[in-house]
């Protein structure tokens, strides 16, 4: 999906209806737009995936940037509550709105640091009772 050829015009759309609001959603390969976009926005939480997107030159594609802007509806209700990886997803969605981050994420060093720090933070924030881990 991410590799689809896109035109700038295709991104200006309304967010898909959340599940339960109407059963008559068109399906794309068996999935609704809601499901696909939810999956995609959460995949953005993975630094390696971002690097993959950058390596395919998508992060400099104006249409893709517009799509990233459009995806920000995930940071608002009623969509917010469907995100099961809230931290990295929303953080990266926010970072991806910045030109500099979109350019820098191509660097393997940055990806590796994001990966390690993200994994460490994912564990550390649960054990504030262990100050020695800081």
């Amino acid at each position: 999906m991410a590799s689809d050829p896109m035109s700038v015009n295709s991104s200006a759309r309304e967010p898909p209806a959340p599940p339960g609001s109407g059963a008559d959603e068109p399906k794309y390969g068996g999935y609704t737009r809601f499901e696909l976009e939810l999956e995609f926005v959460q995949a953005l939480g993975n630094p390696l995936y971002l690097n993959h997107l950058a390596s395919r030159k998508l992060l400099s594609n104006p249409a893709f940037i517009a799509y990233l802007d459009y995806l920000q509806y995930w940071s608002r209700p009623p969509y917010l509550k469907y995100i099961t990886y809230p931290g990295p997803t929303l953080k990266n969605l926010e970072l991806l709105q910045q030109e500099k981050f979109r350019q820098d994420i191509i660097s393997p060093d940055l990806v590796e640091r994001l990966r390690l720090e993200g994994m460490k933070a994912g564990i550390d924030w649960h054990r504030e009772s262990f100050p020695s881990t800081a």
């Binding site: 999906m1 991410a2 590799s3 689809d4 068109p26 399906k27 794309y28 390969g29 068996g30 999935y31 499901e35 696909l36 999956e39 995609f40 959460q42 995949a43 939480g45 993975n46 630094p47 390696l48 995936y49 608002r76 209700p77 509550k81 995100i83 099961t84 990886y85 809230p86 931290g87 990295p88 997803t89 993200g118 994994m119 933070a121 994912g122 564990i123 649960h126 054990r127 262990f130 020695s132 881990t133």
Partner: protein
Amino acid sequence: MDKYLDTRFERVEKALATFIDSIAKYNPSEKLAEDLVAADRELAAGLKELERHQNNHARILQLRQETASLDQQTKDIIGGLWNMRKEVKSTPATQYPATGPKYQFTTHELLNYAKRISRTTLPPAHLLYNSEPSESQQAGGQGGQPMEIDSAAPTPMPGGGGGGTATAAGTPAASAAPTPAASGPSGPGPVTTTTAPFSQPPPPPSANQTALPEDFKPHINLLTGYQFHPWPTEDKVRMGGMAAYQSLVSRAVDPKGYDPEEEERRKKEEEEARKEAEERAIREREEEERRMREERERMARERERARREEAERSGSISGPAAGAPAAAASSAGGGGRSQFTFLDGMDDDDDDDED
């Protein structure tokens, strides 16, 4: 107050002076003495009054002091309140984005969400609480092995040097059986050596249970190398809907409106309809065959019966002569009918088929 007392003093002095004068003139007067006494009594009352006055004064002073201290206290409190207010006003409260809309949610929704994301945001317990202990466990494990040898070594000490080497050799071999076998021949046979082999075997099993060789541990621990990712891993991305979409695109299928489940269902339905039609055809054919078979059997039976009747009739002498042709005719007629019946049946079948 001074004036009040002074007049009394003056009066006493005057009374005293006049009384002394009167005594000096040798003309004491009772009236003068009484005056003096009265003046003195007045003075005493005045002094009492003075005492009361002094007490009151002291009390006034005390009260004044009290009010001053209370005033001070009030001032302090008010000053404190003032400062407090200033501090409260200057405390930076959490800045909610004033422009951003606020969203209502219920505790129930929040708890539901927390429950749902716990699977993907909460690392497994062994990562949370064991990652440091695991390092210390490793250190403890490495420290545990020497300890095990140390604890085993003193046991054979009374037995002799031979027993000691046998245990040291037996412990790394991780088998208790060779230990007594090796120590048996080496021991010359005193009581100390016989107790040593019995006391030696118990420690190795317990030691072996607790101290597994370090390089075994990763193999028995299912969570070895487990990493917690707070985002969807590549596997998940590759198995998800986007991958399905991509595979459709690469198979040159337009994913829009294409639902694999729907397709599957349709295919299945078609398959079922086809199967059902086939089965129905088979059933019809079988039915037809069965009917034809029955018909043939019936014909065979009738023919048999006719043959038997004819045989009976020809065999019986008592039968009337005229009966024979009639019977023959009837049998012929029956045969013809049966033949026609067969044909009728065929016709019927054809009709059925046409229906």
